[in-house]
Subunit: 211 residues, 2 copies
Amino acid sequence: MVSSQVVNTYPLSSYTFGTKEPKMEKDTSVADRLARMKVNYMKEGMRTSVEGILLVQEHNHPHILLLQIGNTFCKLPGGRLKPGENEIEGLKRKLTSKLGANSPALVPDWQIGECVAIWWRPNFETIMYPYCPPHITKPKECKKLFLVHLSEREYFAVPKNLKLLAVPLFELYDNVQVWYYSSFPLIMRYGPVISTIPQQLSRFQFKMITN
Amino acid sequence: MVSSQVVNTYPLSSYTFGTKEPKMEKDTSVADRLARMKVNYMKEGMRTSVEGILLVQEHNHPHILLLQIGNTFCKLPGGRLKPGENEIEGLKRKLTSKLGANSPALVPDWQIGECVAIWWRPNFETIMYPYCPPHITKPKECKKLFLVHLSEREYFAVPKNLKLLAVPLFELYDNVQVWYYSSFPLIMRYGPVISTIPQQLSRFQFKMITN
């Protein structure tokens, strides 16, 4: 693991992007997903997931790489650990599965940095909290977000059914707020986990390296 | 500076609270405050402020100590550094000014921990961001939040015009969302800096120590 208050970021243009076979979502609905979580919990106990924050820069401002599914939903690259799997090794495996080329020589040598956030799912529901709520003794999921330090040059292979977006911190931050119309939330494009990444990264100094 | 992923927290009941002479706010309005910032900026350049996150526990959940002014506004203990002053020393000075007893022997031996957030004020306005916005070359203020590791026993002297509150993380987090009524924000009790502390602390493991 790498730990530093200074994070080097390189221009988006210094990275190369290709495509690879689709990585389909295992579930086609939120209900299916929660049902599968429940089955897995019965078999393996609390789910632990790990996700990577990959940073690039454009216009002298940090951007985060997000995978877009369909037209709206965005997620960080990552996924569920196998029972007993080491977090760092598991995150590397998931990053390779989501963004690594099929040829091992082209897969980035993932440098996993600091854990910047931990989220808890108390029940088999979509809502997560940045702490384990009081009185919850058996949380259903623990999700950890790690900084991933990219080298100056990398090749990413993006599954054909997904889009890879570089989203500026200021866009994520502006989406923290949910606007209500007759008590229905109108905008929540990134969700609470992704939209508060700017606050969690604020303590780092981003060194923008230009070519 | 102390750095650890594990933070010991002690019950609120293990601390003793007294009072001391009032510490009046320097400004009586937001407009006055912004005007004073402008004058100071002309003399000394960018304002740097430091604030401390002091944690206690109740009911097995972390609580943050906040100073309440009047009936609504809450702030973290801290304040502005003198020009050239070291951040850690300056925060200790400010914590003593806000919460230390008049008798030096009773003042806590402040253990300043990790920087958990940095906020920027681009203009002489109330709005701050968890990054320096693009194209802003001369930010007007940089505010840093630090964990303060409390010992098992401490004595705090609270200025008579202020109240010291222990606010649970779950209350801060529930206040992230702003509810709108005809486009007027209804609830924003803690403001963006304080209300996202739970997300910034999520990476720490709180070890609740009971007596």
